[in-house]
Assembly symmetry: C2
Homo-oligomer: 338 residues x 2
């Protein structure tokens, strides 16, 4: 079997020089190539099954045609999986390829990016400030979720804010938060919790009562017990996730209680199952598909119109600077549980 098919082989088969092959296959304008040889080269390439070496091309051009998506060091939830899917679609629409890499906890992100030389970068997880700065200095187009507390666009922050807004709007003043006890989700729990505490503080509420639980009814029931007993009981809970909201509903049932009468429960992610819960789960939906497209767009925009505002470079999460926010990345789904 032919070990490798190079452009040299194609050139030889077509009876032309290697440069001609390159010109034909890259459709370089400004070069004149007769129609007959063009056809000849094209058919030779097809017959040999030639595909150019990414390595060599990257080496030559200093930049690959890959868009690198950096994932948090945890199993992907539905939201991120959908985001990946959508971003993949969008990126391919422009002839680029999206590859995903789970960021190791050790954090060699900069090294990876420098050595892979991707055309653009999509960052779906916050990074330590210094590492983020190092990434930006590589001057790779970047769309990131590096979330600041005053940035209303980070989905994780938006979720927390929306949860609190809905619950307080319904009259609740003592809030609880259920976050996973399993490590791996800790940074995300941290962000979510920070957003919720921020919102509570802004509204002059008491800080939320945090419970760390596993995904089972016993844990949830115990947490429910701690929330609802005591002199000033919690009356509503923000769950980390629809999964955890489900667990809380089970926990309530174990006490003979139910939502929202005894304890309002609001989830996050709007799983397909959310509507099937009893009671149907009020939750915050993440427009993961839209976010994926948006991120991809932001990341590759500088590649398309290099004349536009290449100095703007990396875009922070969302069309920063544009006053009118067209579509929010998260929305409330009002059902029955809160």
């Amino acid at each position: 079997m032919h070990r490798k098919v190079t452009s040299h082989d194609v050139a030889q088969a077509a009876g032309v020089s290697r440069a001609t092959v390159s010109y034909v296959l890259n459709g370089r304008s400004g070069q004149s190539i007769s129609e007959t040889t063009r056809k000849r080269v094209l058919s030779a390439a097809a017959k040999l099954g030639y595909s150019p070496s990414t390595a060599a091309r990257t080496l030559r051009r200093g930049q690959s045609d890959l868009v690198l998506m950096l994932l948090p060091p945890e199993p992907l939830g539905r939201a991120l999986a959908t985001l990946l899917d959508a971003a993949s679609d969008q990126v391919e629409r422009y002839g680029l390829r999206l590859i995903a890499h789970r960021l190791p906890a050790s954090g060699g992100a900069v090294e990876l990016v420098r050595s892979l030389a991707p055309a653009a970068l999509i960052l779906t997880t916050p990074l330590p400030d210094e590492e983020f700065a190092a990434l930006r200095s590589l001057e790779v187009p970047l769309a990131s979720l590096q979330q600041k507390m005053d940035d209303p666009l980070g989905p994780d922050l938006g979720i927390g804010a929306l949860q609190v807004k809905h619950l307080t709007g319904a009259g609740h003043t003592r809030l609880g938060v259920a976050v996973p006890c399993s490590p791996g989700y800790d940074w995300r729990a941290q962000v979510r919790l920070a957003a919720i505490e921020h919102s509570c503080a802004r509204l002059g509420l008491h800080p939320p009562v945090v419970e760390r639980i596993g995904l089972d009814a016993d844990d949830a029931a115990a947490a429910v017990g701690r929330w609802t007993q005591g002199p000033e009981p919690v009356t509503a809970v923000c769950a980390f996730d629809d999964d955890y909201a489900f667990a809380l509903l089970s926990g309530l049932a174990a006490h003979g209680m139910s939502a929202p009468a005894d304890l309002a429960v609001i989830g996050a992610e709007d799983l397909p199952l959310a509507g099937l819960a009893v009671p149907p789960l009020t939750t915050v939906s993440v427009h993961a598909r839209m976010l994926g497209v948006l991120f991809a767009q932001l990341a590759i925009a500088p590649l398309l119109g290099a004349e536009a505002d290449s100095q703007a470079g990396g875009a922070q999460s969302g069309p920063s600077g544009s006053a009118a926010q067209p579509v929010p990345p998260v929305t409330l789904v009002r059902r029955a549980s809160a």
Copy 2:
């Protein structure tokens, strides 16, 4: 800012030749390098923040240090997400990097692999036979889920088989199957369905009654109606997924029925929520983490011991040939719904 730091820069900074730098950094045995220059090179590299260009290295060595994981053209479910996570861990343990790429429906897999030149390949989705053959001919170490009907190791096939086995073991003879109606999951539904039909045929049962449903109670209720009415009603259903099993439970409730009395329901994937359903969901658990490790191991094994059996090359799903199967990739989780 330094646009690129090459080994040439490091060499210059350390006052040695570029080759020496390469020898030092790659720890090439058989070359003698004095301790003093070694230190000097190392510190120079660290000071300049040098990291070698993957492109150049790949070009030179003819093979990159990336392990490519090809994903099906659909949003990742929990099982695949976990598998990705586990495989990523395992691969990094050997100094390699795992990157994932969603396979486009158009199917340029071969081209991608040839141009990326990955060190190994993990295929989590079946491919058309011709494309699979083309992939194998590239002689890249490969761990695949290319499932044949007589291969008991493919998780999707194993799930179907186990579902049928459990239900028939409980005395059911008329089986139903619930698969997604949304496209995107169609190939997987196809595989799952094939496994179930195969099992039924082997046991001499009537072919299963297939219903395509969406993830809502109405669809599920309608399907439940069609299954349970008629002269020879279905008494047990294999769901595509725990999600769909949940939907079926809701559909049953809409009829005032419940599992397993009126209709036994068995799921797949063993979501964390499965135990929280009413009744708790009997399901088939996929050991995604273990599969991820196994796949990674299979894929990179030929890279480690090149002397062992490099001719064996691509491994089919599972340690093919080894008689004793140590751990099955799927197991039954017996709860209450079936």
